[in-house]
């Protein structure tokens, strides 16, 4: 049975949703308070969940990167361990430098909270291996700072290494402008494809009765 460690900062609010999700998928979980300095030894996957760590003060994710647990996360990731950052978790992972780019204020300045169709761009990685390339998924988004920025050289590297995971798209898979992200990027991974980040919330899409269960096949890849 896989063990999933879920981080909790002051202001995190998707820790319990993430716990529910991975327990539903048959994993054991632990919630790790940010003052801890070590991960459980049997950790197979780390989740940096969504929320508003430190009230989004300074910049979203900026203060959380200096929490004691982050040193252990960096070491875990550099050792090949799998880490997934969702929403605020994605912001934290870019701030700490485990993922390329940065997340700016949405182009329309509004907090956007709705179901959004996404296109799978690359599935040659552990996260999306259960999804088909170009598959369209319906996953909720809920953020104010999801406007992904990366410079041209960085973007080319992302493309060349198949690091772009998902794009905001219409139901036919055409990219659409949701928050101003460079080429509608909604999620990326690092070069070695063990650190993943995305703004949409797969942990909120597990049951059709609640709108979509498309999140299951995303999260399942990480624990397969």
């Amino acid at each position: 049975m896989k063990h999933v460690a879920i981080l909790q900062f002051p202001g995190t609010n998707c820790d319990l949703d993430s716990q529910y999700a991975f327990e539903k998928l048959g994993c054991t979980t632990s919630i790790i308070w940010h003052k801890e300095e070590e991960l459980p030894l049997d950790t197979d996957l780390v989740i940096v969940p969504g929320g508003f760590s430190y009230g989004d003060y300074l910049r979203s994710g900026a203060i959380a990167q200096f929490s004691p647990i982050m040193k252990a996360i960096i070491a875990y990731a550099n050792n090949g361990g799998k880490v997934l950052g969702i929403c605020n978790g994605f912001q934290i992972l870019t701030e700490v430098g485990l993922l390329p780019g940065a997340l700016k204020r949405n182009i329309g300045l509004h907090f956007i909270s709705k179901f959004q169709t996404l296109k799978i761009v690359n599935n040659s990685n552990d996260f999306l291996k259960k999804c088909d390339k170009n598959e369209i998924l319906n996953i909720p988004i809920a953020h104010a700072d999801g406007n992904y920025y990366i410079d041209e050289a960085g973007f080319k590297e992302l493309e060349d290494n198949e690091q772009i995971l998902v794009r905001y798209s219409d139901e036919k898979g055409n990219p659409i402008v949701v928050n101003g992200s460079v080429t509608s990027i909604a999620g990326v991974c690092n070069k070695t494809k063990n650190v993943f980040g995305l703004m949409p919330h797969p942990e909120r899409a597990l049951e059709n009765i609640l709108g979509s269960d498309d999140g299951v096949k995303m999260l399942e890849g990480l624990i397969a």
């Binding site: 910049r59 900026a62 870019t94 700016k104 204020r105 949405n106 329309g108 300045l109 920025y149 101003g180």
Partner: protein, 79 residues
Amino acid sequence: MTAIVNIFLKEGVLDPQGKAIHHALDAMNFEGVEDVRMGKQIVIQLTSTNKEDALKEVEKMAEEILANTVIEDYTIELN
């Protein structure tokens, strides 16, 4: 000594908040507004009395946390 750190999005990085303020100024009929950039200012009281040391220290703060140098530039003023 007081350090004033001004942080702005880099030239060429679209500034949605600056743009919204620009639109508002246009809507209010203020003429001659060419561009608006929005940033933030952080004021730090330092115990140091040596300007050179202070500048080095504040530069380190700016690089490590105050600014995200992927998207932001900063300036430092010491008084």
